[in-house]
């Protein structure tokens, strides 16, 4: 069954944290609750669970790939065109190390970017309920749940003193 989404908007971060508490008391799980803000709040400001990630693995994989490409490029091109220049050996390690170093760093940076996007779950294609006021200072608490628990979610959001509550079948809904 398709899930329904509701978004409560709060001027105050504490009210948003209360909304999250209300939802949890009504047995909504962390996976069903999302907190949206235009500003990075310190971790745990809304009582949300610790966010784990494996971003630090990505640069190492990228560095290994970049190093390999750099090594293959410098080895391959010199062996394919074995012309002695400047009296240096065909496989001259110091210049190879420079290209390999740049390749390693480029690989690490590219994979880090991919890691950031992957771990941030971006790009986000599926549209859900959203409001532009979030980037104006409001904090949004969004719940996505089964239709039979939807009323409980709306009540929990309103009880925390939401300035506005929007939900997914509302006409003219602002979405991302």
């Amino acid at each position: 069954m398709a899930k329904r989404a509701a978004l409560g908007l709060y001027k105050d971060a504490l009210a948003a944290a209360t909304a999250v508490d209300n939802l949890k008391q009504n047995r909504f799980t962390d996976g069903e609750i999302d907190i949206l803000s235009g500003t990075p709040y310190p971790e745990g400001a809304f009582g949300e669970h610790h966010i784990g990630h494996k971003l630090f693995v990505f640069p190492f994989i990228g560095a290994a790939c970049g190093f390999s490409v750099g090594l293959l490029l410098t080895l391959g091109t010199q062996l394919s065109y074995p012309m002695v220049t400047g009296g240096k050996p065909i496989l001259s390690v110091p210049p190879m190390a420079i290209i390999m170093y740049e390749g390693t760093m480029l690989g690490a940076i590219l994979f880090t970017i991919l890691g950031i996007l992957f771990e941030s779950r971006l790009p986000r294609v599926r549209r859900s309920v959203y409001d532009g006021r979030i980037t104006e200072g409001y904090v949004g608490v969004r719940v996505e749940c089964e239709p039979q628990r939807f009323d409980a979610a709306l009540n929990a959001l309103r009880q925390a003193g939401a300035d506005d509550v929007k939900f997914d079948n509302q006409p003219g809904l602002a979405t991302t």
Partner: protein, 457 residues
Amino acid sequence: MQERVQLSDAQINRELLSGVLHTPMWFWGLVLLLGAVVGVGVLAAGVLIYFGVGVLGLNRPVFWGFLITNFVFWVGISHAGVMISAILRLTQAEWRRPVTRAAEVLTIFALSTAALFPLIHTGRPWRALYWVFPYDFSRGIWPNVRSPLIWDPSAIFTYLTGTILFVFIALVPDLGMIRDRTAGWRHKLYSVLSLGWEGNPRQWRLQAVAGILLSALILPVFVSVHSIVSWDFGMAIAVETWHATVFAPYFVIGAVHSGVSAVVTIMALLLWIFKLKNYIRPDHFDALGRLLVVVATAWLYFYVLDFFFGMYSLEPQELENRTLIMFQWPMSFLFVLFALASYLIPIPLWLSKKNRRNIPLMFWSSILVNIGMWLERFQIIVPGLLRKQAFTFTWANYSPTIVEIALVTASFALVGFGLLMFSKFFPLIPVWEQKEGQLLKDDVQVGRARVPGLVHD
């Protein structure tokens, strides 16, 4: 940072996104002016390509002149972004917030402009592809990786790619803000660019980690780029006066000196043009000024070191080169100008806090530094080549032609044009970082003083 004013999120949005959402008339005037100067540069490049390198003032033995000087200069300027941004992010320096993006974007445009110059300098830019990129395998000929001229493109490509991605990742939350404030095609464009950003805790957490991780990755690249540029000279067998082991750190610290000075110039321009007095304050110039005093003095140390190494070895080429630079007209004039502009005038000025907080003074003195640093690169490159040869027919003087002067002038307009166009589509001060600074600012009573406290996770 004791001077911040309390700003609401709506006010920060309104003030920092005004350049993106509204276009004042002066913007188009400036675009036209800078565009015209860039157009002159394009014309000069066309003349060079059509008539060949004979239109440049180069002649044996001076084969590198204004264009390569300008290349080194702009690579140096490009070191501002990462130096400022990465180090300040890693150390969580609070005053970084309004400075980082302008510095990073300056890196992008300065580096792109720098990369144009060796290509233009060849006179046949398309042929550079044969030398640089490993694609011409049909003839079995590959680029010579033993040449420093191949190391340069690999370093610049890595640095430019890394910086663009660094800027983009930090820009995503701001793109989401612009998306929420636009309609029609602009809304669609920013929706795509913001990648569906919503600002949930996971995205913010990753954004914070990304800033630190990318800073740590890009700093070694930043050091490598100007080291490699210095090896274009240091590893050249034929020019004895370039054989200096201190060239790599000397170039890197010189790049930071000119780059951070360029950031001061840009910050002052941003403040005046976009009226951002709530964000760019005298204390930012004070902090940058203090940093510059340290950086400039470190640079002076390497300059003196390079000078003494040359003198102490008593190599005739070194002695001849220093005599040419310091005592023979017009090089002696340029030397005095360089010494005054790059260190002797600005640094004593910046020792005073009052002067560091005087924004017009900082603006003009930072420009002075970059005049000096441009001349420094010229003095490294041209006098080193301009030495007496065994036969008089292989010994000529160097003076730039109008084509070279036009290209160098256009490069400044091109960087300005790039920054201006960027400011039309993206905020030059990170909006979300400003909001974070406001959020984490909470006054703390210390004795009888109330000072802003800041917490970081």
